[in-house]
């Protein structure tokens, strides 16, 4: 095979940030018309590598060849010219602009500086028909679905004549149905001769669409394999560097008395609209209740209301039989609540403060950590050291700022702080967001351990795998309400996906049954 068979070759790419090597001599070869997966844990250096390819970062050393010719990609504009387009994980879309404006931005058709919207809409229409990317060119981004936002991102690259498309964790924000659609779109793109690099840490996606897969671990390229002849287990082991187990081990649940009961609560979001609409639920001791739903359906507001971070307009929240709605967070906490917040940087930790201070921050005002209003630094240090040891928080010392820890270890520190207070209800919101397989395994084990110790656990997550694996019951939230409560054993990802999109349980069940044995059809 001669060199020119590759549309892209990255040879010996190294990128250093100070003394830290994010990429260490990485090699990647992309064939024309293939879907090439780039697999690695968080922080393995996938995004760095792709930012180099798309001109956002400059490599410290190494070569990039396109169609066998060496090139220097020093700006995103240059990458565009070379036919490389990136579909970013966090969409690079201007919310207040229309679909058309977002697509043409930077290469606008114009007559003497005046925008030519007609020509633009025409060429967008042609592109979207050619590749089956349904969008409404005149809609504003803020009013369209996440799936359509992603199609706009894809159209942006195609509009610029991209031949090579990079998808950065494209399924993180999509429902299962939208993921199916995306897979179809990717196949359609390669059929038209485009080449695709798919960055992901989801193995089933790789198995479904990718032809080859390059595995990266700690900044180094480990191997490139053919997907059809490699099992998921092999891929996972290569990615993590040891043998990992997928299935979360857990025993039967034995739910006892009700610990948390929420009765008809209404919560408003920042702009004054009702985010939670007369919602009721119960969590019992010894069970994990999972809350599934697409981001923005009131889950965050529900949890903020229970934890006292936002106002409850009406309804009752009872924790251990005591009404806690509109109580202060400290009162609620002392009444037996542990909270692993959704945004660990904003609500979970004070990043510039030391790890020991962060660990002590829920109990610093009590003996022995303080006495008559004065902190007791020695006790705080002892306490922090004890928890760091017990919960295996990997850190240089307890005095480093919380920001110096990796995401997984930050999360472990929060879990240590919350669980050690022995709360009767533990709320875990998105506890594994952005974490890698190893850390996820650990956190799931801890949540189940809480349950087995007779505590109630409320788990909110956008990851269906996590919900299905860890929960004992699943409540699906849609537009501020719980639309269904199902048992993990009796449901499927597909059914949950339909419920999350607002379908009723009967309809979802019927639809899933109809789909069985059939290829998933293209739904819009």
């Amino acid at each position: 095979m001669s060199e020119t068979n590759f549309v892209i070759e990255m040879k010996g790419i190294t990128k250093e940030f100070g003394t830290f090597k994010a990429n260490d001599n990485i090699n990647l070869q992309l064939k024309k018309g293939e879907i090439h997966a780039l697999l690695g844990e968080n922080g393995a250096g996938k995004s760095t590598l792709m930012n180099i390819l798309s001109g956002l970062l400059e490599p410290t050393s190494g070569k990039i060849l396109i169609d066998g010719k060496e090139v220097t990609i020093n700006s995103p504009g240059m990458a565009n010219k070379l036919g490389i387009g990136m579909v970013h994980q966090h969409f690079m879309l201007v919310k207040k602009f229309t679909v058309t404006e977002n697509i043409i931005l930077g290469s606008e058709p114009n007559k003497a500086g005046v925008l030519d919207q007609k020509t633009a809409q025409q060429s967008i229409k042609e592109l979207s028909e050619k590749y089956g990317l349904l969008v409404n060119p005149a809609s504003k981004i803020e009013s369209i679905s996440v799936g359509m936002e992603q199609r706009v991102e894809i159209l942006k690259t195609l509009y610029r004549g991209a031949e090579i498309l990079i998808f950065d964790e494209p399924t993180a924000v999509l429902t299962p149905q939208e993921i199916n659609e995306l897979m179809q779109i990717m196949k359609a793109l390669t059929n038209e001769g485009k080449s695709i690099i798919l960055i992901t840490h989801k193995l089933d996606e790789i198995k479904e669409v990718a032809d080859r897969c390059t595995v990266i671990r700690r900044g180094k390229s480990i191997d490139t394999v053919n997907v059809s002849t490699t099992s998921q287990q092999e891929l996972a082991d290569m990615m993590v560097g040891r043998s990992v187990s997928f299935k979360t081990e857990k025993k039967e649940a034995y739910p006892k008395e009700v610990v948390l009961s929420v009765e008809n609560i209404v919560v408003k979001e920042g702009r004054g609209l009702e985010a939670v609409k007369s919602l009721s639920l119960e969590v019992r001791a010894g069970e994990i209740l999972g809350i599934a739903g697409i981001d923005g359906n009131g889950q965050s507001e529900l949890i903020q209301a229970i934890t006292g971070l936002t106002k409850t307009e009406s309804g009752k929240i009872k924790l251990n039989g005591k009404e806690i709605q509109n109580n202060t967070p400290r009162n609620i906490t002392e009444n037996g609540l542990g909270h692993i917040p959704e945004d660990r940087h904003k609500y979970g930790l004070i990043l510039p403060m030391s790890l020991e201070e962060n660990i002590a921050i829920q109990t610093y005002y009590k003996k022995p950590l303080s006495n008559k209003g004065f902190l007791n630094p020695k006790e705080i240090k002892e306490y922090a050291k004890k928890l760091i040891e017990e919960f295996d928080v990997r850190t240089q010392s307890e005095t480093v700022p919380a920001s110096a820890l990796s995401g997984g270890n930050q999360q472990k520190a929060i879990i240590a702080r919350e669980i050690d207070r022995n709360p009767s209800l533990l709320i875990a919101a998105q506890p594994t967001r952005g974490l890698d397989v190893g850390a996820i395994e650990y956190i799931h084990k801890r949540l189940i351990e809480q349950r087995d110790n007779g505590k109630a656990v409320l788990l909110m997550s956008f990851e269906l795998d996590e919900i299905l694996n860890v929960s004992d019951r699943i409540a699906v939230m849609y537009e501020g309400n719980i639309v269904a409560i199902v048992e993990p054993k009796e449901t499927t990802q597909q059914e949950l996906g339909l419920l999350m999109a607002g379908s009723s349980l009967e309809k979802a069940r019927a639809a899933v049954e109809k789909e069985l044995g059939k290829e998933p059809t293209h739904v819009e």
Binding site: N51, S54, L56, L57, E58, S75, P76, G77, N80, M86, H88, M92, L93, V94, K95, K96, F97, E101, N102, L105, G106, S107, E108, N110, G113, V114, L115, K156
Partner: protein
């Protein structure tokens, strides 16, 4: 006075006072649409006012009637130079936008009064200019029956120029490539960057345009209203223009409308005596009115008015 005369007086005075506000509010709109908060508009107006008066006093004998108009251009150019400080500080040096703007507001009057003392024998204010904008009749339009005399006779020429510029700014902001890119940079600079738009240059364009228009606004204030330069020539007009920009929802036409409203409020203290309903209100209330109205409007509006998403945030390009 009959009703036509009263209306004529109200409209022309409102326009005289709104002309500086219109231009400065448009300037603020460009700056903030590019994501740079410019509280330094007040200082920029001071420099525009000062430079135009110095120019006017120096060249009035050569340029005659055209002096104030050229003075406005001079004020605009000086405004650009002064806004460059804000641009360098906020875009390149990543300074806090409010701090940098405050520095400009503190520096400009000090510098201008100091230079006045140096140039004019130690006096804290300049002489009265001989060539000012005065009152003008708009050709053709003034002949319209009833409306002509009310709106277009004995009125402020700079205000009509300002209205025309506002329409032009609206067109530039919403219908041209430059405008689309400027707005994109103010909303989501990273998105603009990934599409090959030069974020820093675009922000410079926004800030320098605010310098140009703010300087012009200051020059109009000095040459149409105060007619000389002193420390009190610009007394909060830059901040009122900012309020007009917010009230106008960062839209040039909205900002223009709000500026005319605030101009009307400012003119009240001058014309209050002639308007039947309010002529008995003590004049001190009418003098306070524009500032009071500004505060009330901002308190009522600011929560609902949503500015550019990345306004006031420093954009750092990763290397």
């Amino acid at each position: 006075m009959d009703i036509i005369n009263v209306l004529q007086l109200v409209f022309s005075s409102a326009l005289v006072y709104s002309a500086p506000l219109i231009l400065t509010a448009l300037g603020g709109t460009f700056s903030e649409r590019s994501g740079i908060v410019n509280v330094g508009l007040e200082g920029i107006m001071v420099m525009g006012a000062f430079s135009s008066v110095v120019f006017n006093l120096t060249f009035a004998s050569q340029l005659g009637n055209w002096t104030p108009w050229v003075g406005v251009v001079v004020g605009g150019l000086i405004g650009i130079l002064f806004s460059l400080i804000h641009a360098v500080a906020t875009i390149n040096l990543r300074a806090d936008h409010i701090i940098s703007g405050t520095v400009i507001n503190l520096m400009a009057p000090a510098l201008a009064v100091f230079l006045t003392r140096v140039l004019y024998d130690g006096r804290g204010q300049t002489d009265i200019i001989s060539e000012n904008f005065g009152k003008a009749n708009i050709p053709l339009l003034e002949k319209i029956p009833v409306l002509g005399p009310i709106f277009f006779r004995g009125t402020s020429a700079p205000a009509f120029v300002g209205i025309a510029i506002a329409v032009l700014c609206w067109f530039v902001l919403f219908k041209t490539r430059f405008g689309l890119r400027l707005r994109a940079v103010g909303e989501h600079p990273q998105a603009a960057d990934t599409l090959g738009i030069n974020v820093y240059m675009t922000k410079y364009a926004g800030v320098l345009l605010s310098g140009l228009l703010g300087g012009m606004g200051g020059a109009i204030q000095a040459q149409a209203i105060s007619l000389n330069f002193s420390a009190s020539t610009i007394a909060g007009q830059g901040f009122i223009a900012m309020a007009a920009m917010i009230f106008g929802k960062w839209n040039p036409l909205g900002a223009m409308g709000a500026a005319i409203f605030f101009g009307f409020a400012q003119s009240l203290s001058v014309i209050g005596n002639y308007i039947p309903i309010i002529q008995d209100v003590p004049s001190v209330w009418l003098q306070v009115a524009p500032y009071l109205i500004t505060i009330i409007v901002l308190v009522g509006v600011i929560g609902k008015s949503e500015g550019p998403a990345a306004n006031g945030k420093t954009y750092i390009k990763s290397k």
